[in-house]
Amino acid sequence: MIKVTIDDIEVEVEPGTTILNAARQIGGEVVPPAMCYYSKLPGTGGKCRTCLVEVAAGSTADPRPMPKLMASCSTAVMDGMVVKNKTSQRVHDNRGGVVEFLLINHPLDCPICDQAGECHLQDLGYEHGSAKTRYREERRTFDPIDIGNKIKLHMNRCILCYRCVHVANQLTDKRVHGVMHRGEHAEISTYIENAVDNDFSGNMIDVCPVGALTDKTFRFKSRVWFLKPMEAECSCTKCSGKAVVWMFGNEIYRVTARKDKYGEVENIEDKTAWICNDCRFEKKDPNAWNITGPRKIDRHSVISQGKYATKIDKGLNKIG
């Protein structure tokens, strides 16, 4: 076990752990945000740069600080490493810069976006973004396209985290979509309007940190915060059958996998509980599910219940 200090909190972790995962072992405020890293999908990370942290001391053996900010999701901790996240003004400033970059071409169509309420970009914008944009140019736009009959792609909202590409690589037999073009013109797309048609393709929706990939069976049906998430099980031969059904009254509006507080699909019995497309898109009848109880959601979101209240309380306390 090796010792690492993050924001003055010491933690012991296995060798090879990344800074981000070490921070997650501490939990709470010291955890850097991650838009592209997804612990259940090997190979993700390093792209969005929102998880940049300052390494104030490399290790006990070599205590020099690292000159650049490091991507915490892909930098392994060393014994005696000292990391600054919340306590570093430099991190705060640069993270703000990254958020600004992510937002300049983002349509900010939260009022009509299905992801609103569980969108990581929304959270980041709330925490770091400024209220005004300095971007005077026209935003980059694409037409929304259907990829397969169940998934809608709004490329305008995409932040190119590559998570869905990894899902397609790792969960489905054949990847038919990917990133085309480069730089500002880079876009997620399928090869010649090919349909993404695979039993596990729906998981792309769950991993998408923004509203770029949405569930066509749920689009515009309801805001997520009006729905009641319930843990449910079914006997499915393709997947674990353990999911969350989002209900309004006695109706199931949508089905998702069970996600943890970082927005990642949970491990159940040491296996990531991805759900299949049948469970996700077809089983909207409450009788098809054995509903076991309410699901506690830490939405980690700007509009999760009480979040505004706590922020305001904190502010009032400061003043008072």
Binding site: K47, C48, R49, I104, V179, E184, A186
Partner: protein
């Protein structure tokens, strides 16, 4: 007197691109010497002694890079030659490969032997397709003459050399993006660590070197590393190919001894012979488009008033405040008529076009800078835009996966640092900025004249 030439001395001999003529003029001597008389470690040792530094831009000591190569049992090692020369203002590798292809082949054989690689690659940019044919012809000749293949020169050492073309993306000149592309994937740079020396091509230890670096191994092995180190000043040893372009009387590829003064290089009779059409020097980018631009008064002299020399250290003297970098040796000269804002916009457009789009600061930032600069250049800019550019720069620099972000940010930052009044002039005189250049009418020219 022009200095010694180690790489392109024989370029003008007719037929040097063929094996026979090249061999008659002392070619492949380093292969014979290395394979027959030296162990691989001895070759690495000579390269270390030579003080050779990577000629692709970063200037990392080659011997040290080679000694970092992991050597696990039973795992192949690779040498990859980076011939994806795409830096605007740099065209030395193209010249070398086109005129004297066997020098690169010879360097590849000797270097591969030193590193214990049995398959080596030359990754060449897609636009150089005609050079690919030149290289393949040279490889076929070398193979026919026993310099490649099994049991080279009876030494028991086997080597295959493969030329692989890229699709013509600047980013594939970044070593890990190059490896991805060579593996047949999208050329996105990889996260480091692990470095290629540990996990490179197909997960095996790999060394990636520039064409000129590999070519320089030939004279180092032939004459010995110490002999090579005698040329140059301090930690900048040997000779360097400089691609001189811009408003010069005699632009072109020059092989210089490290340590020639910048003044001598621009104005000397053996080199560029001064600024074309009797005009005055306005600015110079000494190392390819990615390095900071220098205004005239900092080109030939450092901020401390010393002569600036063509070495890694001297060009970087003063840091980014008043220095630049030797980079890949893409020496771009601007005369008094050139518009710095326009030039900066051109570079920004290039980087926005070439960003791979993988990490957000570079993808969004380069595009944003391009648009702001476009606005400034076309007379729609505001004073806030100049500050905005500086801030975008700061947010990109150092925050990206690969150095492309830095390469995009530095030229813009330096242009604003040294030519801020010219940017401001574009804001205050939008109409004039469309028809004439700042340099002609402003007092700075007097300042330049005084030097």
């Amino acid at each position: 007197m022009a200095g010694r030439k180690l790489l392109i001395e024989n370029v003008h001999i007719p037929g040097i691109e063929t094996f026979d003529v090249y061999r008659k003029n002392g070619g492949y001597a380093s292969v014979e010497k290395a394979l027959k008389k030296m162990t691989p470690d001895e070759v690495v040792e000579e390269v270390k002694k030579s003080g050779l530094r990577g000629r692709g831009g970063a200037g990392f000591p080659t011997g040290m890079k080679w000694s970092f190569l992991a050597k696990p049992e039973g795992v192949p090692r690779y040498l990859v030659c980076n011939a994806d020369e795409s830096e605007p203002g740099t065209f030395k590798d193209r010249y070398l490969m086109e005129k004297i292809p066997h020098l690169l082949i010879e360097g590849m054989i000797t270097s591969s032997y030193a590193l214990g690689a049995n398959v080596s690659y030359i990754y060449i940019r897609g636009e150089f397709m005609y050079i690919l044919h030149i290289l393949e012809k040279a490889i076929a000749e070398a193979r026919a003459n026993g310099m490649l293949g099994k049991n080279i020169l009876g030494s028991g050492y086997d080597l295959d050399l493969v030329v692989a073309p890229g699709g013509g993306a600047y980013i594939c000149g970044e070593e890990t993006a190059l490896l991805e592309s060579l593996e047949g994937k999208r050329g996105n740079p990889r996260m480091k660590p692990p470095f290629p020396a540990v996990k490179g091509l197909w997960g095996c230890p790999t060394v990636v070197n520039n064409v000129e670096t590999i070519a320089a191994v030939v004279p180092i092995v032939n004459n010995g590393g110490e002999e090579y180190a005698k040329i140059g000043i301090e930690r900048s040893t040997g000779t360097k190919l400089i691609s001189a372009s811009g408003n010069l009387v005699r632009p072109g590829v020059y092989e210089i001894e490290m340590g020639v003064s910048v003044e001598e290089f621009i104005y000397g009779d053996d080199y560029c012979r001064g600024i074309a059409n009797g005009k005055r020097l306005k600015a110079c980018i000494p190392g390819g488009s990615s390095v900071p631009i220098l205004p005239a008064h900092l080109v030939t002299k450092t901020a401390a008033g010393e002569n600036r020399l063509m070495t890694y250290e001297s060009l970087a003297d003063g840091g980014f405040a008043s220095g630049s970098m030797l980079g890949s040796g893409g020496f771009i000269v601007f005369d008094e008529d050139q518009c710095i804002v326009r030039n900066t916009y051109t570079f920004a457009r290039f980087y926005a076009h070439e960003s791979c789009g993988q990490c957000s600061p570079c993808r969004e930032g380069t595009g944003w800078m391009e648009k702001v600069l476009h606005r400034l250049e076309n007379g729609h800019g505001t004073m806030e835009d100049i500050t905005l550019l500086e801030e975008i720069n700061k947010k990109i620099e150092g925050n990206t996966i690969c150095p492309l972000g830095d390469a995009a940010a530095w030229p813009v930052a330096a242009a604003i640092r040294h030519f801020r009044e010219e940017f401001e002039w574009h804001v205050t005189h939008p109409a004039e900025a469309q028809t004439r250049n700042y340099g002609l009418i402003q007092p700075r020219v007097e300042e330049i004249k005084a030097l």
